[in-house]
Amino acid sequence: MGGLRKLIRSTAFRLAAFYLLIFGVSSAGLLGLVYWRSAGFTAQQIDETIAAELQGLNERYRLLGIPGLRQVVAERSGKQSQSLYMLMNPEERPLAGNINGWPTANIMPGGWMDFEYDLAVSGKTERRRARARKIDIAGGFRLLVGRDVQQRDELVGLIQSAFWWAGGGILAFGLVGGLLVTRSTLRRIDAMGAASQQIMAGDLSRRVPVNGSGDELDRLAASLNAMLDRIENLMTAVRQVSDNIAHDLRTPLNRLRARAEVTLMSDAEPEAYREALERTLQDADALLGTFNALLDIARLEGAADAGPSDIIDLSDIVADVTELYEPVAEDADITLLAEAEPGAAMVIGDRRLLAQALANLIDNAIKYTPKGGAVRVSAITAGGYAELSIADNGPGVPEAERGRIFDRFVRLEADRGKPGAGLGLSLVRAVAQMHNAEITAEDASPGLRVTLRLPSAT
């Protein structure tokens, strides 16, 4: 019965039980009210009828005296009805009436009494319940007017038992329904638990089941999955970085080490030592540069979304960075054009990082554009997005390789002989991700156009 115990301990079951309790109490209250009002109403009606009739008879007595009263009572007693009458003289002898003998019952205030009497129905005597009121008339005469309440009591009993059945039914349905609902919810939670167990065991590609109903559990599952996506991305990034370090830092490190070792082995001139040391220093600087770039990228990719918070005019950055690169472009005989009106593209971001991203993009564009070419940098706002784009009219990037250019250490065939470690565009992508920006590389026919679409701050 571990399953049942688990069921009883579950939050869903407790909630169901709690609701059942509240529901049960309120329906009991409602049924009780209905019962009290209906039974009470008929009882009151009976009492009113009796009181009215008694008053009528009393008036008859005042007008006609005992003989007149006796006549009326005898007349009414003879009719088929649920009314009961009894008129007694001071000697306790019945003068008129339709019950056999003055009932023995406790007399309640106002002369009311509840009693049982015998009624002859088709030869048989039946014991029936009644309610009556008596008054004393001057001279020791007593008058009793009552009504048979057997039928009413039976009706009330019927209502009562109906209420008990209804109450029992509500409880039973509530319990069974609650258990069913609980079990289905519990099963979904168990499925989520099982999925997380598997994820914890190392299967990061597993996801929590989502049934598409959009309810709370479903939304919880969806956000858990979003979290898992993020974790998986981060894990992949970490793995990539370590792979990259293994592949791409080991080679230059090895070269550096070999040079130092060989130089030490040879009995060289001081000048040769100096030269070897200087080259070692250059290599170390290059390595550190690569290392720092990798760290920057990893840090940006791992950064929380709520990073940058300054409102920035992209046109400022465009103006600054194109101005910084303008002489470089001129030396390479390339026209560098900035097309951004002040205030045309406002974003929330990190000025330094966006400038660095743009610098890397411009640097890249200048590197791959042949003499006489042009690089256009523009910033506009369109459809709720600030678009920063850099287009060159160089040879471009083949479509098949366009998606790859933002990966780390990717250097295309055409890059041979150009300086760089293949990290510039990875940093651009990391900056874009941090700013919730979409980054695309497309054909500018001819050339390459890279566009960053950032959420607009205007």
Partner: protein, 223 residues
């Protein structure tokens, strides 16, 4: 000049002290912030302060110094390179911030620049040899001949001139003239320098703007 190096890595500090003395400076080393604060009671021109120290950390040490009214320029050294770390360092009273690993030439250039800042009087004109820079009128003359400069070129020359006879590195120029502190892939600064050189040195016998190999640039009359 006298430099106090507060750094818990004794080996790195020893290289730093050696390098500084080879460039004619007197450097002392303190292994932690507490010792450093006591040593700082005597006059130093610059304090090089590691941000991460055992016990009292670099930020707290800088704040303590400033609270005592000590205005000695502080250069923070840190393995933390994110923007907000830098901002925190400068807010705590630091005057400059250098991220490890750094080139010694960079450290030296920054220390020498910081030392100058003290007693810096507002200048309206700077002269380097026969080069005259009018900071108010934003005009430049060399040997009485007018030289036209773009605003950024003027800013570049102004920074070099304010630090005349001292080495300024490419990152210092990027930080101070363009107000960016990232590392550009290409040597963009070199191109700006050569353009400036083309305007102020071209056609004159003695060049003023010198390249210092492995370090940066220096504007000076002497070669």
């Amino acid at each position: 000049m006298r430099v106090l190096v507060i750094e818990d890595d004794a080996e790195a500090a020893a290289y730093m002290v050696k390098g500084l003395s080879e460039h004619g400076h007197v450097a002392d080393h303190a292994i932690d912030a507490e010792t450093g604060l006591i040593m700082a009671e005597t006059a130093y021109d610059v304090i090089v302060l590691d941000r991460m120290l055992p016990g009292m950390d670099g930020l707290a040490a800088a704040e303590t110094l400033r609270a005592k009214g000590d205005a000695t320029p502080i250069l923070f050294l840190s393995a933390l390179g994110q923007v907000d770390d830098r901002v925190k360092g400068l807010r705590a009273g630091g005057d400059d911030y250098l991220v490890k690993p750094y080139a010694f030439a960079e450290l030296l250039a920054r220390i020498e620049t910081l030392a100058r800042r003290r007693g810096d009087e507002p200048q309206t004109e700077i002269k380097v040899g026969d080069l005259e820079i009018d900071l108010l009128g934003r005009r430049v003359n060399r040997a009485g001949e007018r030289i036209d400069l773009q605003p950024r070129e003027f800013k570049l020359l102004e920074y070099l001139a304010r630090n005349a006879d001292r080495v300024v590195t490419r990152t210092m120029l990027l930080e101070n003239v363009w107000e960016y502190n990232f590392d550009p892939q290409t040597n963009v600064i070199d191109v700006h320098i050569s353009r400036l050189r083309g305007k102020i040195d071209k056609g004159f016998d003695a060049p003023l703007l010198h390249t210092v190999r492995g370090a940066g640039y220096r504007l000076s009359e002497a070669g």
